[in-house]
Every structure is written in C-alpha cells, then in structure tokens.
C-alpha cells in the first residue's frame, strides 16, 4: 500500500537516520512512503494565535496534495506531526481560519481538513498492527530495557493529537514490546526536553533533559528512543546522563533486519 509522506527539513539533513530507517522499515512492512512533491518546511512550531495564517500554509499545501492523491499523510518527525495535525484540525474546526487559508491558497476546491494525518507510530499500530509487526521481526531485541521518550509534541494538546492517553501513553511501549525488547515506563516520558531553548540557554535545556534521562535511568532503562530530532539532540548533547538515545526507526530497522543493506 502507498501513503503520502512528509519528511520535513530536519530529516533531510541532521536526522537522516530517522528518515532512512523509517523508509526501509516501511518497505519491509509492505508500505511505500510516497514523498509529497515540493513540500516546504512546516515551521517547526504551531502558532496558536488566531491571526497567524501564512505560517500554517505550507502544512495546508502538503495536506491538500495528500487529499488529491486520496492517501493518508504520514509524518515521522514529532514537530512536523504536531504542526500538520494541528493545522489540519484548525482547517476542519475553525471556520474563520479555514476561510482565510483557502483565500490565500486559491485552490480549485477549498480544503476543509479532509486528509487523515497519522504519525508513523500510529501507522505501525493501526495499519500494520503491533501483532503483525512482531511476526515480521527477525532480530528481536531480547532483554534490552528501552525507555520511550514521547516529549511534548506527539501527545499535546491531547484532544487534537489524539494519539494516545497524553498522561500515560503506551504506543511506544507497545512498539518496544513488538520488536522484542522490554519497555521501561517512567514518569517524565511526556515532559519537555527543553526544545528550542537550547539556542538561547543550554543550561535550561540541560536541566530539562537531565530530568528526563535521570527519570528513565532510575526506572532501569539502558537506552532511550524518540521520534523527535530536537529531543534527541537535547538529551544527547545537553543531557549529561550516560544513556544512549536513538531514533525508534533505527531499532525498528534493526529488528526487521533491514538496517544494513
């Protein structure tokens, strides 16, 4: 099956592994990720203000293309997912914003949030199914104690993102089980890593990141996985705990036996 795929700017540069292993694994699972043509950067952050229109149009463009192809739009980077999913919800539920955005876009048919935006993890859970995924695992990561790091972007605002229980999620834990490893549940898995504040003040980002890493370590984790390049950066660069942090797609590719080829 084919789905529309929005990689985002970071996945083309600093987070190539997130993208590469994501594509390989999807192929191994029988899903082709068709990259949206001429996609533009999502802007990294969804601006809530009602008078911010232009900043959301690149997302609308990608959403429209997926709609025209009649495909779900799959995202991988947490930030892109957050921005596109929230923009889509605004197109669907905020008539004023939708009117203005449609006026800017001058589309043949106005867009009202028809596209289904799903994160790669949701695709694994709902399209592939974790049970099916488990069957296709050739290198189960037996005995590895892995902590899922959700951060804030995948889950909040809960009512819009609607991926999982925002306070006690399990989708990445279920993924970890599916690839044969042991999930480590810890309380700070849905707290912020510090995000873009690292540009201004690395000490703040370090505080946040260490809180997360410490929490994971106390709970017995040997490794942390994430879907967000900025989370990965903050945990690795600003955090001082000795705990490897990798993209979840890398482990997926490893488990499916498609990491090296």
């Amino acid at each position: 099956m084919k789905v529309s795929y929005y990689p985002g700017c970071t996945l083309k540069t600093k987070a190539k592994e997130l993208d590469k292993y994501g594509r390989k694994s999807a192929e191994a699972l029988g899903i082709t990720l068709e990259e949206i043509k001429n996609w533009q950067c999502c802007g990294g952050a969804f601006t809530c203000a009602s008078d911010e229109i232009a900043t959301k149009l690149s997302s609308v463009r990608a959403l429209v293309e997926a709609k025209e192809k009649g495909q779900d739009l799959v995202t991988l980077c947490s930030a892109c997912h957050n921005v596109i999913k929230r923009t889509n919800a605004a197109m669907k539920n905020d008539a004023d914003f939708a009117m203005k955005a449609n006026n800017y876009m001058k589309l043949d048919t106005p867009y009202y949030g028809e596209t289904n935006v799903i994160h790669y993890l949701e695709m694994l859970r709902d399209t592939v199914g974790f049970d099916e995924l488990a069957k296709k695992v050739v290198n189960p990561l037996k005995g590895k104690k892995i902590a899922a790091y959700y951060g804030c972007l995948l889950l909040r605002p809960g009512k819009v993102m609607a991926m999982d229980n925002p306070e006690n999620p399990r989708i990445i834990e279920d993924f970890i089980k599916a690839i044969g490893a042991e999930p480590v549940v810890y309380p700070y898995r849905n707290e912020c890593c510090g995000g873009y504040i690292t540009l201004e003040d690395k000490t703040i980002a370090a505080k946040k990141s260490n809180k997360v890493l410490h929490s994971a370590k106390v709970a017995g984790a040997e490794m942390v996985i994430t879907a967000c390049p900025l989370c990965l950066y903050n945990l690795q660069k600003n955090g001082t705990e000795d705990l490897p942090v990798v993209y979840f797609t890398e482990l997926l590719a490893e488990a499916l036996g498609v990491k090296e080829d």
Binding site: N165, E167, N168, V185, P187, E191, A219
Partner: protein, 662 residues
C-alpha cells in the same frame, strides 16, 4: 358570555420594573368579556387574594385571569382563592408575565406589549373554560426506598416510625452504603460504624421494614399513591432465610483471589462472601463471576461445610411485583474514575490512592487492620501529600463542574488523624479553596492546622512522578510564589463524587428529571428540596447533590416526613385535566393506547345506534381518569381528532394562538 376579571401583579419590582403594569391592566380592560381589571403589588399576598375574592363577589365574575409569575409557582394559590369565593378553580388562567416576559426582556415598551398579548391569550382561553371537578384515587399505604445507605436507612426508619410499611431495595448484598466503609466522621470524629451499625440493626429488626438486598428495581408503573414496582432479586445462590451468617463457607471457599470491593480491591475475599462483619442481612452471597462450582460444576466446598443447608446453586433471579404509594430515591454516590488524571500517577503507583481507599487503610476493619501502611511495600509513610479538588470544579471535560462539597472536611480529618496517630509523619494538603461552611466545620479545619501542624498549601499539584520508592510531587505554592518539589511516600487524591450509575436508568423508569450531572432535580430548589417534580417520588441523600452525613440524614428525615404526609391520606385528589375521547369520532386505531406512558387508555367494544334503528358495535378508546396524568401525548397521536384534554382542549389552545397572532 363569561364575566372576566383581570388581575395584574407587580411582583414587587420583578414584573413592574420591566412591564408597565397599569398599562397592561388598562389595555386588557377593553377585551371582550372583561368586566374588571386592576393591578396590585403582590397579588399572591393575603391582601392580593382578598382583592380577587372581593371582585368575584362584587362583579359576579365567572372567570379570572391573573397576570403574574409562572403557573408552577402560584396557579394553585389563585385557584384556591377563587374556589373560596365560589367559582370553579379551573375557571382561573395565569398569564406568565414574569418568567416569560419581565425576566427575559429589557425594553419596557416591548415587554409591556408582550405582557398585553399574553394576557389576551389567557382571556381568550377563559372564554372556553368549563368548570372541572377533580376525582380521587386511593393511596397504597406502603413506601419503597431505593438504596440502603445511610439516606435510605434513615428515611425507612422514619417512615416506619409513623406506622407505615417500608421496603428497602439495595443492589449490594448488605445495606450500609458508603458510610459503612468510613472510619471516623467529621467534625466530631466519632466512629462511623458505632453510629451506623445500630441503625442497620434497627432496620433489620423493625417489623414494618422489609429489606430486598442484592436486588434492583427493574420496572415502575402507575402514579402517585398507586405505583406498581417490579423488583429483581438477583440469585445469591444462598437461601436467605436459612443462612445463619456463621461465615464458615467464607473461610473454606478455595477461591481466594477475588478483589474485595468493600476494601476497594486492596485485599481479596472469597467467591462466597459476607461483605463485612456487621452486614445486614448477615447472609452469604456467591459471586457467580468467580465461583468455580457455578462456572465449571466442580467444587461444592461451601455446600459441604454449610450445616444449615443454605447453599442452592440452582437459584435463579426472581422478580417480585409490589405496590407502593410513594417512592424514595436514595441511590447515593461514588468517587469518579481517575483514568483522566494520570498526571497524578494513580494508575502507575499503588501508593497514589483515593481518599476512600485511604479511609479503608486507616479503618481497623480494613486491609491493614487500621495501620497506616502504604500499599506498595507495607511500609509506614513519613510524608503524605493530599491533593484536593481532583476532578471537582473541572470544566475541561475530564471531571465534574461542581464542588463535591465533602472533600475539604474529610481531607482535614485524614490529615488530622494521621498527625495524631503518627506525629513523625509530615502531612501536606494542597487546596484551591478550603470550604468549611457547616456547624463546627471551620473550627475543625483550623485545629488540623493549629493543633496538629498540617501544612496547608494554597496551590495545586501539577504532576506526581514515581521515582524509586518515592513519589515526586511537583506543585505550586501560590502564596510563596514558588514551585515545590516534595518527595512523598504516599499521595491521597480527593476524587470528585458523582451520582451512582444506577440513577440514570432509574430516573427514566420513574419519569423523574435529572440535571446534566445525573443528580435528581428537586421540585423547587429552595421550597421543595426533597420532592422530585414527579408526584409521589421523593429524594434522599447524595442522589440529589453532594452531601455529607449530617446533611444526608436531615434530608432523609425530611423526605420521610413528606412520604408520611402522603401516606396518611386515604385518597388523593386527581388532576381533572385529563384526556377524554369523543367516541363518535374515535376510529379505534389504538394510536393513543400505544403512546400512553401511564397505561390509562383501554379499548372497549361499544354499541352505537345507527340512523336506521340498527345498532353497530365499534371498538373505541376509553380513558381511565384516575390513571391519566394529562400529559397530552394521546391528543397529538390521535389521527381523527377524537382525543382531547380537558382544560387544554384543542379549541382552547387555538383560541390562545389566535389571540396572540391577531
């Protein structure tokens, strides 16, 4: 031709501030048939009523229109006054110029014009009114109380005290309700069991009270004074009249891993069980979900050890039909499910407990025999954080928009008792507001602070993070303007309370109204707080709104007094505004019979004389006026226009509409 008097009420400034009452009285005085028209400051007062009575006599009035508040409020008042002055009470019409006019409009010109139109409509109706005489119906002198908690117990005892029979229907195997799970009661700190269990025994021993435990109401028919209720007695697989309550079976049953709901799942019971030592009735019950014999046919240990031969694996659910004059709802409350509050880690750590769980932990008959030990490792906690308002006053969609009312006081109690028994334990209470309006309540809370050194912090907990054997509590201290991080051993959440889930289907059966939170609505929030708007249905305890024990008991006794007031009557005056079928127009289609919610319509075969001296037998609708409640559903359903409602006939309604549209 009617001679009509019009009386326009000011309702102090309630009406007169927005409606020009003199102008209304003047305008209506020119209406056809109106021989007298006046206004007065308070028409419902004695002087106002005398004004109406005098006018009836002086002007020989045959009909009266009162322009005032809603008929729900004072229709009866004015009907009585007119009856005393010698005219039929159903010759009175109310034009609601308060709720439907002055209260909802701001512009005096528009409101006055509307008041005049409403008055004209009422006058048009009075022209078509006919005197109606109310019939009577007998009262079944027995009451049903649904729910056997402290509310139901108190109501039942008070009704029985007046000499009437009472049945209690309780869905659990024992009466006692939430109060039986509580350790001590605020603000006096007396032992809940010591004051509740004697009352439970009183209920059991009272010859006028009959308990249907492990039972549910499954159907309700009839109306005030004449309810017929079907009670489902669930199979408990133990003969209630034979079981001696010795408890041997509950010790020998090999199925030991059944979560004990009395201790909120913090320990286990057997598949055959007596909920607690003082249960009433003290009879064992088999849990069919866990009983090996019932599930697989193998075992039978309880039957073997029972010397009274009380076990009966073949018992079936039993349906009993009973008649009652009055029904009291006392279905109580439950703490909400905390699944939407995972930021407090309730589902992630056994040491995060609800207040009711904490109550069981501190109860001598609880899972830790009253020792304050935390569930995860059985260790004594040295730092406890209480969080108030978890799910209360919450409009985000996760919780309840109302204040649960009891949490401030029980949290103060828990905090105080903890400090008293374990002075080495630091106790923090996070609060938004401390609400203690009750006799000796604020003094009680202050004692917790001043004498027991409980740390009250104005602020809210944002997150509870289990870390090792600690719970890291991150919270705001709004007065110090700082964020706190407390390493706690236990966290106690004051979960909001909500009406029992059984209340909603019950309300449907009783046609009793509820608010959006599923609390039963009272007939009047101030003046009729223990009556439901449905006649003959009364409200007791937390089913009507959050309540503590003293308030519940007061309301329970109040409901009982209302029930007694009803049951002492031999007959009730019926509503004469009932349906009536014009047999000549009825085509026998049964549409009315199908929509009647009260079963008031039957079909009879009746002989009609035809013009050529022959007779014809036709099937026609017949209304039982004692059963009809005058809802009017049949008049709408009737395709031939044969069904009409006395006092609200199609002609009368159309005359009103015409008067409004003219």
């Amino acid at each position: 031709m009617q001679k009509i008097g019009v009386f326009v009420c000011w309702c102090g400034s309630n009406i007169a501030a927005t409606v020009d009452v003199k102008r209304v009285a003047e305008a209506l005085s020119h209406e056809n048939g109106v021989v007298y028209s006046t206004d007065y400051q308070y028409m419902c007062s004695e002087a106002g009523q005398n004004l109406i009575k005098d006018a009836i006599k002086t002007h020989g009035l045959t009909g009266v229109v009162v322009c005032s508040c809603s008929p729900r409020m004072h229709e009866n008042t004015f009907r009585k006054a007119c009856a005393l002055a010698g005219i039929n009470p159903y010759m009175v019409e109310i034009a609601n110029i308060r709720e439907q006019c002055s209260w909802i409009h701001k512009d005096m010109v528009q409101a006055t014009a509307k008041a005049i139109i409403l008055g004209k409509a009422a006058i048009a109706k009075v022209h078509l009114n006919a005197p109606l005489t109310a019939g009577t119906s007998p009262v079944k002198k027995r009451a049903l109380v649904i729910g056997g908690g402290i509310a139901g117990i108190q109501t039942a005892l008070d009704i029985a005290e007046a000499g009437f029979e009472v049945d209690i229907v309780e869905k659990k195997p024992t009466i006692g309700g939430k109060m039986s799970q509580i350790d001590k009661t605020f603000p006096t700190l007396d032992c809940a069991a010591c004051i509740l269990t004697p009352k439970m025994v009183d209920v059991a021993q009272n010859e006028l009270i009959n308990i249907y435990s492990y039972s549910e109401v499954s159907a309700v028919k009839g109306f005030v004074g004449n309810f017929t209720v079907t009670i489902k007695k669930k199979a408990r697989y133990v003969k209630e009249d034979v079981c001696t309550g010795c408890g041997l079976c509950t010790e020998k049953c090999p199925q030991k891993k059944v979560p004990n709901e009395f201790n909120l799942g913090m320990d286990n019971r057997r598949a055959i069980y007596i909920p607690f030592a003082q249960a009433v009735p003290k009879v064992a019950t088999i849990d069919p979900e866990y009983c090996t014999k019932l599930k697989t046919g193998k075992c039978g240990v309880c039957e073997k050890v029972c010397t009274a031969k009380a076990i009966d694996y073949n018992q079936k659910d039993e349906f009993i039909e009973r008649e009652y004059g009055a029904i009291v709802v006392a279905t109580g409350f439950n703490p909400i499910d905390l699944k939407d509050y995972d930021e407090y880690a309730y589902s992630q750590s056994p040491d995060v407990v609800t207040s009711l769980e904490f109550e069981r932990i501190t109860n001598a008959a609880g899972p830790t025999a009253g020792k304050l030990l935390r569930p995860s490792d059985g260790k004594h906690p040295h730092t406890i954080v209480f969080v108030q308002c978890v799910g209360s006053r919450d409009t985000s969609g996760c919780g309840k928009p109302y204040c649960s009312k009891i949490c401030c006081m029980y949290t103060a109690k828990h905090a105080m008792l903890t400090r008293e028994k374990y002075p080495d334990t630091e106790v923090y209470v996070f609060y938004i507001d401390v609400r203690t309006p009750g006799k000796s309540f604020d003094e009680f809370y202050r004692r917790a602070v001043e004498e027991y050194g409980v740390h009250y912090i104005k602020g809210m907990v944002g997150k509870v993070a289990p870390e090792g054997d600690k719970l890291m509590v991150q919270a705001s201290d709004l007065i110090a303007n700082e964020q706190l991080n407390i390493a706690a051993d236990m966290v106690v959440l004051a979960a909001a309370i909500e009406p029992d889930k059984s209340a909603r289907p019950l309300a449907t059966m009783l046609t009793a109204s509820m608010d959006t939170n599923d609390f039963f609505t009272e007939a009047h929030p101030k003046l009729r707080p223990v009556e439901s708007p449905t006649a003959g249905v009364f409200l007791s305890g937390a089913c009507q709104g959050p309540k503590d024990i003293p308030e519940t008991v007061s309301q329970a006794s109040a409901a009982a007094s209302k029930v007694i007031g009803l049951l002492v009557k031999d007959h009730l005056t019926c509503n004469p505004c009932v349906a009536e079928s014009n047999e000549l127009m009825c085509n026998g289609c049964s549409a009315c019979e199908k929509v009647c919610p009260y079963g008031a319509i039957t079909y009879i075969d009746k002989e009609f004389r035809m013009p050529d001296r022959t007779t014809l037998v036709r099937r026609v609708a017949s209304v039982n006026p004692a059963v009809c409640q005058g809802c009017g559903a049949c008049t709408v359903a009737c395709p031939s226009g044969a069904m009409d409602l006395k006092g609200f006939s199609n002609n009368q309604i159309m005359a009103e509409v015409d008067a409004i549209c003219k």
